[in-house]
Symmetry: C2
Subunit: 545 residues, 2 copies
């Protein structure tokens, strides 16, 4: 078995490790802001980047502007200019020609959604947000809260002429307490800025994702972002200690507690986490941040079957336990795409149908390495993995992560991609990819030459969170293919009590499919809540539920 031999070589290397201590080890997962728009989940081909973005109103012809909303007038603009003062706080396309300045706020980075707004407001304090909303609520002017505008479901851009309320000027770090690890920030603080601030204080933001160079902490909370550290640090529902938000009528909800424990009434802040700006605008966040790990390691394996990936995950949980910080799944096709796209030599000698990436983060490099070696010896001895490598230095560490992080970019070079971000119980997680491939193949859509619309059906994702990214790479967007995938894919997930949106949220893209993951009672209760907090429906209309 050449695989086992290769792993033995890797293991021998692993036995004489150079203890590594990386100050900001996970920053490998953070491409620069400019790179984000290419590397993260792109649904358009690179070739499309120069084309005009289609208006959402044209892409969704059934969606009509709600006539209950007022049209923005010159008087409204005058009010906002008076209120917000600073010239940079209002981008006025109503009384001036500011189309070019407004365009970046009207469309998303995926170039998939585009609105018609003529007004962007950038308040700097919660009081300003409150006065803006109070005015809009009275005048029935619809608004869209906008953070870093890095979302994937069209949630942060207008559909019609909704006023964009952009939080980027609310960008102050309010406080950090080293004793408790509690950070308090304005909603518009960029995630990477917050994490760098914490790094200097030996702490870590308990959330990491590809868009960290652009996304806002407030937007992360509003969309309940998941990302790469959830396996280790848990969801924002557990780590966010407090939220400051403004309701549609201008009411300031000050629930910005910095306490880990506070059992005095309903935990209302939880409602804002994942509400995508539909019941209020988050203006501040307090969050519990763990100490920064002193040592980080990463290993990469080839496996013969999905069952072995599951076994490897179970063994990783057992052997690595409290230091396991990522367990990522990549199928062979994704790695082939990365190989072809980058021209980089495979980390392993053979090719395998499955790969996984295992990361540890701990406080003691030697202990972590010993645990990792025990894990490696076990999964090799049991024949669970066919081959593997362990990063020996920071360069190798980054290189290995690129085989996971580079998938989206590799796909984006090929044309369009239909992307599904789903959660399915682990035993059947990868079966969705197999079933989808079989279905599209039987229908004659999949093939190697250009006459077939579908190039590849691939899967990867956060194994540790039961979170699969199913990607269907197409040569061009094709209604027939689309009809073959939807609603089939949602029905497939519904049968397994999965989630049709594990971490990306609903926005506009998934709004109509909520019924596949939530029953009628839940949807009814959600609508009731929306009605309670935003009776005029001015907050982020046309989306979510």
């Amino acid at each position: 078995m050449s695989g086992a031999r290769n792993l033995s070589v890797a293991l021998r290397r692993a036995r004489v490790p150079k203890p590594r201590s990386l100050l900001r080890p996970l920053s490998v997962c953070a491409p620069s802001p400019a790179a984000n728009s290419v590397r993260a989940f792109s649904v358009t081909s690179a070739a499309n980047a120069t084309k005009e973005i289609k208006y959402t109103s044209a892409a969704y012809p059934n969606l009509k502007r709600d006539s209950k909303f007022a049209e923005i007038s010159a008087d409204d603009v005058a009010f906002f200019k008076e209120l917000l003062g600073a010239q940079s706080a209002v981008i006025d396309g109503v009384t001036t020609d500011a189309a070019d300045d407004i365009e970046p706020f009207n469309s998303d980075w995926m170039r998939k959604y585009r609105g018609h707004t003529r007004l962007v407001l950038k308040p700097q304090t919660k009081e300003e947000v409150s006065k803006v909303l109070q005015y809009c609520n009275e005048k029935k002017l619809a608004v869209v809260p906008q953070g870093g505008n890095t979302g994937l479901v069209g949630g942060s851009v207008p559909v019609f002429d909704e006023i964009v309320i952009n939080l980027s000027r609310m960008n102050q770090i309010r406080s950090f307490d080293e004793a408790s690890g509690v950070l308090v920030v304005d909603a518009g603080v960029i995630l990477e800025v917050a994490d760098q601030y914490l790094a200097e204080r030996n702490h870590l933001f308990p959330l990491d994702l590809g868009a960290k160079g652009s996304c806002h902490v407030g937007g992360n909370v509003a969309t309940n972002a998941g990302g790469l550290r959830l396996l280790r640090y848990g969801s924002l529902h557990g780590t966010v200690l407090g939220v400051e938000a403004v309701l549609a009528d201008g009411t300031v909800v000050d629930s910005l507690s910095t306490l880990r424990k506070n059992n005095t009434g309903y935990d209302l802040k939880q409602l804002f986490i994942g509400s995508e700006g539909t019941i209020g605008i988050i203006t501040g966040v307090s969050i519990l941040c763990p100490p920064r790990p002193k040592a980080v390691n990463v290993a990469y394996f080839g496996l013969e079957s999905y069952d072995q990936v599951r076994q490897a995950y179970q063994e990783a949980k057992g052997h690595l336990s409290e230091i396991l910080s990522a367990f990522e799944l990549m199928d062979g096709r994704t790695q082939k795409l990365v190989h072809e796209s980058t021209g980089t030599k495979y980390p392993l000698e053979g090719e395998y149908p499955f790969y996984c990436l295992v990361e540890t983060s701990g406080s003691n490099a030697e202990h972590d390495m010993a645990k990792l070696e025990g894990f490696l010896e076990h999964i090799m001895g049991e024949g669970i993995v066919a081959d593997g490598v362990l990063a020996q230095d920071e360069t190798q560490f980054h290189a290995i992560w690129r085989w996971r992080e580079g998938i989206t970019e590799a796909l984006s070079h090929l044309g369009g991609t239909y992307k599904y971000d789903v959660s399915i119980p682990l035993p059947e997680l990868y079966q969705l990819v197999e079933d989808c491939k079989e279905r599209l193949t039987k229908l004659g859509f999949v093939g190697d030459d250009d006459s077939f619309p579908v190039r590849a059906v691939v899967g990867y994702g956060h194994m540790g969170d039961s979170n699969l990214h199913l990607n269907i790479s197409v040569r061009q967007y094709n209604k027939e293919v689309e009809k073959a995938i939807e609603p089939w894919v949602y029905e497939w997930i519904q049968k397994r009590n999965g989630s049709i949106s594990a971490e990306h949220g609903l926005g506009l893209a998934k709004k109509e499919f909520i019924g596949y993951s939530q029953n009628d009672t839940m949807v009814k209760l959600m609508k009731q809540l929306k009605g309670l907090y935003d009776p005029n429906g001015i907050l982020n209309p046309y989306k979510y539920i």
Copy 2:
């Protein structure tokens, strides 16, 4: 310095540890059900135990029965008997004389609250809970949901004639998935039963508290219980993945997801966590359970000042990091009380104004011990601790925990205790005890002989969660002392943005003080929510907000 010498001795012992692997190491924290009522937070003296419990309606004369609620009739009882079938499902004190059978459901284990109910219902399915509530809502019959009835604020017993809906017959473990660690249980499953079930499957319930032998998982979720593992495993808002609950009108809310990630709409289940049965009755829970730690260690230290306790905590976070599972604070007076009450020899030779208990839980006994030794050497070398011991075997492990866990029992032998469960930012955590003691001393209330009402003002708690238990031990309950403490103590906490109820909840005991920890807007929003989900107010009236 004799202290440093003693620690050296302890450290020498610590250097040749017998690696320990305890299958269920934390069960030390779980007294038997019978012992709970003595050991956990008692507010009555042992001498009071034989006395009749005062009716809550007499203790709170300003509280009047709300005349909007109907009185239970024989027809109502007949309906419930028909509906629930089994004879054991209805305890009928309306048409029969069942006073003795009903009494345990009318009063709490602290013997502090006592209601007047004449009817106890024990549904066995969510459908039965639904039909019961639908009927009660239509007839305007008030109800009190009741789990293990182990609460500390009078939340789980009636005040007047509210019908008790006891969940103890909903006691099935529904499923457990070893791959994901997700457990699904009926609300009435006893916490310890769930944890034992998990222990057999090498997992751990991510919550532990003194009452685990009696309390229900549903009650834990309904009260957002904190307990001993929060420092390590986080709050229930993060670990609970799904809730099944019944609203006042009988609507079944099925949000019993087993997924770690599901971003499809408002996370409504969060509202039920900590709502104390005021917006619905929880009938099922799904929760993420971590692998059971393979090794657990505990150390006990004497320190000269609270500042040094804070330093020790910071060092513990740094050195022990991912394996730190408890950091408990005990002041010298609490340890003296335990010593006097049990007659046990002190673990350390000298006496100190402060003590702390540090526990680690990890997957590798040798690594954990090495980290713990590094921590011990550092805090000794820096003079942060004066003396310390490290448990060498399971007997010592349990013995050390008893110095923390035995405080409540020691206090209960002395007479009454005024108890405050509060959260305060760490720098001032212990200052509340000092200030309270100074205040009561200046007022002439504190002294050693029996002419003084106050025997001792002591403090202890979960340092890692900023959670202090302030206890004022009194020779007898005394209105003058009470007036000197309240509202002074609440005002003190409010000034520091603390919480007047860190983990015990509001119930009846703290209802009127919510304003010290929540602003008017928050309280208004909470009342609005209560009105939305329970417009007739039948669920657990007279309490919470």
